[in-house]
Structures are given as C-alpha cells and as structure tokens.
C-alpha cells in the first residue's frame, strides 16, 4: 500500500482490506445482512457499496444458510466471495452448509471446484453484549477439515490476515474480535508478512509461553507486564491462525520455555486449549516442566453482561496461571 503510517482501528483496517481486495479482483463479491447500505453493525463494510456498487456489495435477507449456500454456488460460477455472519451465534444456522459443503466441496470434486470463500464473523465476548453476541465459535470451525481459521488481534495484522484469507483458494473463517474493533495501532497497512498458518511471538520471555489469540492477546500482554515486575518473563504468542496451527512455533516455544499457558474465551472443554495442550505434549513432552495450564471461559453458557468479567480470562487469572506453572 505504501501509505505513510497512520493510526488504524481494527474495524478501519478490515474495511480497508475489503476495499483493496474488491479493487484488486473485480470478480470478488461481498454480501451478508446489513453489510451494504448501512455498512455493517461494526462499520467494517462501511462505504464499500458506494464504492463498488450494489452488484458487488449487497445486503441479503435474514437467512444464514442461504448466505453460505449462495457463496458455494457463486464459487461454482467462478466467483470468490466474502460473506458475513452478523455475530458469532448467528453463524450456527449456516453450520450445515459450511461443514457439509464449504469445507468439503473441493474434496468432493477432486479439486475441480475451489471454494474461495471468506467467512467473516464478528466474534467473542467482552462488549457487554446480549445472549448469542459473545460466543466463541472457533471449535466448530477448527474441528472441520477443509476450512482454515484465522483470528487477528490487531489492526495491522487484521489487514494482513483478511487479505490473506481472501487471497487463499481455500475457505477461510475470519473471527474478528469485537472487543478489539476500536483498538488503535499505528503503522502502514501491508498485505505481505506472515500468512495463514504462522503465529508470532509478541513478547519474548523464557519463563513460560502464554499462547493465545484475539482479544485475549492484549490481556496476556498485560499479564506479562505485571509478571515482569516480579522478574517473571513470560513469552506471549499470538496464534493468528487456529487452523492450521503453527506447530513449529508451538514446539519451539514449549521446548525453550518448558512451560505453556493457553488462554481463550471459549469454554474449556474442547476449546483450543485442549488441542494446544495435546500438541505441545506431542511436540515437546520431554521439555515440559509442568502441565499445560488452560485459562479459559467456563463450561457454561456465555453469561449476561454483568457477569462477563467473571467469565472471561482476566490478566490476573493469566498471571496466576503463569505463577502456578513456573512454581509447579
């Protein structure tokens, strides 16, 4: 993009990514509920209909199964698409289409029909939302072979990951942490840099590795700050890509720090922490000094706004887990 550095929100950076992708590929279309005229509940599609017209950027009726199914049909017609499910839980009505078709059509047709579909979902909690507006749906997608799943944690990386998702010939689910839409980062947007499948170390440390993604990255960094004052240097890894996972990075960090804490908002059982714990054990068993700790949402429905803070991993809980791990 070559623009000079400026302050971006995640919403703004994602908006720019969509804009640039639509400009780059004139066959790309973007659709979903309220993404057109109004520009989206979180303004991520703001101005795109105006810029690219109603044939490229359009509103659909309320019906998520059809949104996903139409994307599949468009892929048959040689059109890549970006679709949006308005909130996490509102992606569930489309799960049959996504699991049975979006994820499997390429395999079914022996590679003759790609599914270049980007599924954007404003996801996760932390915005004092109502029921069904704070869910962490990643397990459903990560468990589904044929899909890729990414979660940006910052504006500049959001731009990069969304461009990569749209560019990828495979279907990619982009889970956008709602709680970070308005967080700012200064820099220049660039599509190059680490792609899908690659995690990044955001803070170096050797006492323990905190592995996380999305809005929990900021909390992990906060926890690391606190721990640093105790001379406990925690490494913080932003996974970025939940499927595929960056096995090399996990292996390296587990080996180097011998201790791993996983943090996510989703309920614990069969949340990402389970997979990461299992892989870390497989990849670095002999190096582990302590069991992998999971700091997660509880195995209960996402709570009402007034209890959100008792549900989501806090910097305190993360720091405690690190302390437990290093003193194991």
């Amino acid at each position: 993009m070559g623009e000079s550095a400026q302050a971006w929100t995640l919403s703004g950076a994602l908006n720019r990514a969509l804009n640039d992708a639509l400009a780059d590929d004139e066959r790309l279309v973007l659709f979903g509920e309220d993404v057109g005229r109004s520009g989206g509940v979180f303004r991520v599609t703001d101005g795109l209909q105006e810029a690219f017209g109603e044939r490229r950027v359009f509103d659909t009726p309320v019906g998520e199964a059809a949104i996903a199914g139409v994307a599949v049909g468009l892929a048959f017609a040689g059109r890549p698409s970006v679709i949006e499910f308005q909130f996490d839980a509102f992606s569930y009505p489309a799960l049959e289409q996504v699991i049975d078709h979006v994820a499997k059509m390429r395999e079914r047709t022996r590679g003759r029909v790609d599914m270049p579909i980007t599924i954007r979902i404003p996801a996760f909690g932390g915005i004092r939302g109502k029921e069904h507006h704070g869910e962490s749906p990643e397990t459903h997608y990560v468990h589904t072979a044929g899909l890729k799943v990414v979660v940006p944690s910052s504006p500049l990386d959001g731009y990069r990951l969304l461009r990569a998702a749209i560019h990828d010939p495979d279907p990619v689910v982009v889970l956008e942490p709602k709680a970070r839409y308005w967080a700012k980062e200064t820099g220049s947007l660039a599509a190059d840099g680490p792609g899908i499948g690659v995690g990044r170390v955001l803070r170096e440390g050797d006492a323990c590795t905190v592995v996380t993604y999305g809005a929990m990255v900021a909390r992990a960094l906060e926890a690391a700050d606190v721990l640093a004052e105790e001379d406990l240097r925690a490494r913080v890894v932003d996974l970025r890509s939940l499927s595929p996972l960056d096995d090399d990075l996990l292996a390296r960090c587990a080996r180097e720090t011998g201790r791993v804490v996983v943090v996510h908002e989703a309920p614990r059982t069969l949340g990402m922490g389970a997979e990461i714990a299992a892989r870390v054990m497989e990849l670095a068993f002999d190096h582990l000094e302590a069991p992998v700790e999971r700091v997660t949402g509880w195995d209960v429905p996402y709570p009402p706004a007034s209890l959100e803070d008792r549900y989501l991993p806090s910097p305190d809980r993360i720091a405690d887990a690190v302390r437990t791990t290093v003193t194991y």
Partner: protein
Amino acid sequence: MLSASEHGGLSTVAAPAHWAGSEPFRIIADDGSAVGDPDVGLDDDALRDILRRMIVSRRLDRECIALQRQGELTVYPGFEGQEAAQIGSALALGPEDFVFPTFRELAVALVRGVDAVQYLQYHRGTWHGGPYDPRATRFGPICIPIATQIPHAAGYALGQQLDGSDVVTAAYFGDGSTSEGDFHEAANLAGLWRLPLVLFCQNNGWAISVPTARQTAGEIWRRAEGYGFGGVRVDGNDILAVYKVTRDAVVRARAHDGPTLIEALTYRLGAHSTADDPGRYRSEAEVKAARAFDPLPRFETWLRSQGLADDASVAACHGEAEAFAMEVREGVIATEAPPAAWMFDWTYAEPPGGSWAQQRAEALGG
C-alpha cells in the same frame, strides 16, 4: 406504492412503501374515522383501556431509550410505532394462551402481566432472555436468534393438542424473520398438524437496515396458502383491526380449526436498537411520513369521536404512564448484578462433578 388516499385514509402523505400491494383489513382509517365496523366485541371500558395501554407502553419504551443513554441499560430495541400491532394482538389472547416473543415485544409482555423491571433485567445485562417466569406469565423468554422461537411455538402448540387443551399459542416475529428457514419449517408443521397457533408477523418495514422490499418479493400473508392454511393482512397500526383479526385467529385455533398467519403492516419509527443509526440507511422524510400513520393519535381521535376519551382522560393516561415509567426506572436502576454463582447454578439440573465442579470452585473462589 399506494397513495394515502388509495390506502383508505385521509393522510396527505404516502404510506410506507411496504404497505403496497393487497389491501389490508382495516377498521379505523388514518385520520381516525371508522371505515369498518368498530364493534369488535370490546366494551367501552375495554376501549378506554386500550388507549391507556398504548400511552403507557410508548412512554415506557421512551424511558428505556433514556435509560440506555444513561448507561442503565445495555442495547435496547424500541418498538415505537408498533403499539397497535403488539397490544391489539396481545389483548386478543386469553389468560392461559402462551406467547413466544422476539426481543421487541415489551408492549405484549406488559399485556401479559410480565413485570417490566424483571423483563428489563435482560436489557440491563443482569440476566439472559428469561428473567421472569415464562410459565407463570405465559410469555416465553426473550428470543434473539431470528425466527428460532417459531418452532418452539409450534412445539408448544403441539403439546396443547396432545393434551387436548384449548390453549392457543402465539408466535411473534418480524418481516425479516420470515426469510429464515425456521419460519418455514414451523409454518409447514403448523399447517400439517393443524396446530392451535397464531403466527403474528409485525411487518415494520425494516430488518435492521434492510427494507421489506429487499427482504422478499412476495406478500408475507400469502405464504400461508402454500402451507395449507389461511393468511390475513391487516393494518397493523389500526388497533381494532389487529384485535379483530387476531381474535378471529384465536377463536379458530381454539376451535381446532388450525393456524393463521397474520401480517400486520406497521412501521418501526425508531432505530433498530439504541446501537443503530438509521440515518445511514433511511431518510428523515420517510420517517416523518410514517409518523402520519402513527397508531396512537389514530386511535385517540377515534376514541374521542366516540365520546370515550377527552382531554382529561387522555391526560390521566399520560400521568399514569409517567408514574409507571418512573417506577420502572427506579426498579431498573436498583437491579444489581447477580452473584457469579448463577453462571453455574442453572446450567444443569444435575450438575457434573469432576472438572466442571472444579471450574465452578475456581470461578467463585477468584
């Protein structure tokens, strides 16, 4: 689009675009004059009470928006403009009948006797969609996932049928909801099993930013025929007409004559919710025009013309509304966050031990 005069009223502005097409059933015209038979089986007291309810509901709705602005509620979805559709239909139900609402039916909840402060716990973020007792109030939990409550209503109605009860079930939903698969699957069951069910659609012209014209090319009430039962289109801002068609549907359902799909044409005068800025997708002029079809002045005018309301009685309603709004405000503000234990207390009737119990301890110890 129908012009206002074609539309049967005397307004000088055009009716909302989505009211075009088949003529809806109507009793009181936009200007408050009767164009049908206003004897719908309600006595004078009942008619006066309707106006009171409309005024009280609207006042509370506005108070909720104010409470949200002041940070006392999280996002709130207002219903201004839809009072006739909600109250007219709710009054047609019997006390044992059961309602499955969306998230915009506060006026229906009030008719059902749901405690407003309890209801608003949901919007305060102190509990989920079912803070009141749905079985006692016969008003189901507030339901967010669009159209998913319609199969619930079908199931409840099936339960009544199996029990040989004469309870009627009503499902409320919006125009946007009719595009979801769940609407269809439930409506098909309603027809197939001749369920004692009223499918009440408030076509308020909008599904967030999407106008009805971009939601469907058909007329919603016509869907019923494809499922093998009757549909009716009614002026949803004409409370007597709404009451009448709903009561007819309830009578049919109670007599085991099957379901009815009602499309009530109304208009969402406010934003989709307090988080929404309708300026992005609709004009002030359109809303202003729709105000001319406001159900409140329409009914008030007619009621005055019948000698059933006057300045004093209307003022009394507003006074009651004001007092009620203040009472609810206080109740809302006094509502505190529940104990953290509640996150775990209701998840299971027979809660697991092991890791689950340990998580509970961890969460509540912290």
